[in-house]
Symmetry: C2
Subunit: 194 residues, 2 copies
């Protein structure tokens, strides 16, 4: 039995995939991820804002299948830290991912289990390759515009959020006097001190 | 040793990947692929035209790695048959591919080793999923514009051109009185008659 080919439509003006539902991530789902806990609590008391939306066109978790989709990451900050996705390793660590930035401005923060790190710029037309073994989180560094990107990854990759939830990424992306700045995350520990 | 993340830039205005070289496919590389051999010979005698260009950002042929790139398929016909790519199965048959159409108008012709076929429309914003086991060929059905698309596939998939070169796809895409038409390919044989 062969799977049937299919097509879907990326509406980049309306920032959605036609005839698909999105998953919405709100501020409340990011507790502990932003460094400034007081700012987080104060913002949440006012509004459990939508930080980002994900349209996932998921395929069976089988070798050779590819899942793809669209992420819309809204602009904003918690304290001085820009809105970002939860970020994850792939459960099958040896799987990569391709990101294609359609609009907005931001970056992809990456790191390996060994503690190497890398930050790639995301601007319209940029394609970022996240090699196998690299955890990844996208960050919207615009003050006004959504960061919108298309992505493809092996459908059997899975998501491992746990290790990132415990201590975050090694690097944080913050605004310092209006300048986008990559800083050390004080909560982060090297692998041999965890 | 972890591979380093990297980025590249898709220039959709200039239709190229910055700082990468393209592979060029000319008419002469498609001998035997178009039904009208006389029209093919007559055209080739005048000009060995560039039919399409491929920018490939290739990764090591290892499970979990993804290759990606850009194809620019120019408009034109050989006889009544629209310009098309060579088309192929993946050498590792059980691997899929994701195509994202950036500009132009065309279609993706697909078939399985068992002879099932499918034709998907390619218009700007359309994402076509080619599941594992489906051979695929793109066709530019515009009279004036390039068909431009971005694609991602497992880096270990490989290409098997041979079976398509022998008899083509089951379906051809031709112009009949100015109308884009999907027709049977008279050279094509079902699997049990090959």
């Amino acid at each position: 039995m062969n799977a049937e080919p299919f097509a879907y439509f990326l509406n980049t003006t309306q920032r959605r995939i036609e005839e698909h539902e999105s998953t919405i991530r709100r501020l409340s789902s990011m507790r502990g991820q932003y460094h400034d806990a007081a700012a987080f609590d104060a913002q949440l008391a006012v509004d459990d804002a939508v930080l980002y939306e994900v349209y996932m066109v998921e395929r069976p978790a089988e070798d050779g299948e590819l899942s793809s989709g669209l992420t819309i990451l809204h602009p904003g900050k918690v304290g001085d830290e820009y809105f970002m996705t939860k970020g994850h390793f792939h459960a099958i660590l040896e799987t990569g991912e391709v990101y294609y930035c359609l609009s907005g401005r931001g970056c992809m923060v990456m790191e390996t289990p060994e503690g190497e790190w890398h930050v790639a710029q995301m601007t319209p037309g940029a394609v970022v390759y996240v090699p196998p073994r690299w955890a990844h989180r996208s960050v919207n560094t615009s003050d006004a515009d959504d960061l919108v990107f298309f992505w493809v990854f092996p459908a059997n990759a899975g998501h491992d959020y746990g290790s990132i939830e415990r201590q975050g990424f090694r690097k944080r992306v913050v605004s310092r006097d209006g300048v986008v700045t990559v800083e050390d995350n004080p909560r982060w520990l090297p692998p041999d001190e965890r």
